[in-house]
Symmetry: C2
Subunit: 157 residues, 2 copies
């Protein structure tokens, strides 16, 4: 693929989910996995699929009300910027509320999950290293601590 | 510096400029340079100064009405996400309007400048590789093309 040229990626904010010009709306993941369940979430890759010359990718995730991402952990760090609606992030054994432009740095190996609160979709950008490891399930103990903080999953007892 | 822990960086949107908890508001650059003039712009580094384990940095820039960043170019790519007000980006010899959540990929060596339009400040996130080269002035020809598209600078003829 030839290197990407400079381009403007226009936001369409009268849509649910928010969309961007020429960006495909994808499934969050292929299928469900025990302990890493997710609900009502879609993914869009704004930067990372067109041979851009950055060491990072930029994705947008949007959760319907009641939706949540997988509770998981990995060696790479995340940076997440909330942009639509209200949500929560669970980090280890704590939950923090997030609204537009609140930003979270998720350090390596931190069990984490994003959840939509309220009646509006919860949308956020997630920036990650282009080269990164695959997410992993959390341990039973990490799962119990995260669930006590409000994380959603079907962890075994 | 020890590796950064996970943390929430809370946005304060009743400020001008927008600010974030425990993030310092800095000068955009130290002084002016011929051909790379800038006006009424401040910088905040949300991710990149606390030994975060990412290959990228996240900064926020805010321009007062009439403000603009330096017209410049460099080997590293930029990703910019507009979040406040109205602005324009000049890319080579073209200008494009930007409003909240419009995103621009600036390919390596593209002469570029961001300008605030309207009565409100223009604010945007800029994501860059942690390891990157220093910006350079554009050539006289590049400067003339950018100026014809609306770029602001005092390029020599």
């Amino acid at each position: 693929m030839p290197a990407s040229k400079s381009r403007l990626i226009c936001a369409q904010k009268d849509h649910t989910p928010y969309t961007w010009s020429e960006v495909e709306c994808e499934a969050y993941k292929q299928g469900q996995e025990a302990g890493r369940e997710w609900k009502s979430i879609v993914r869009q890759v704004l930067v990372g699929k067109q041979a851009e010359e950055t060491s990072f990718h930029l994705r947008y995730f949007e959760l319907e009300p009641g939706g949540y991402s997988s509770l998981e952990k990995h060696a790479h760090a995340h940076v997440v910027i909330a942009v639509r609606g209200q949500g929560r992030v669970v980090l280890n054994d704590k939950a923090r509320e997030m609204q537009a432009l609140d930003t979270v740095y998720v350090a390596p190996w931190t069990p984490h999950q994003f959840l939509a609160d309220g009646d509006e979709p919860f949308g956020f950008f997630c920036i990650v290293d282009a080269e990164r490891d695959r997410p992993q399930p959390v341990s039973p103990r990490e799962g119990r601590l995260a669930q006590a903080a409000g994380a959603q999953s079907d962890m075994p007892d």
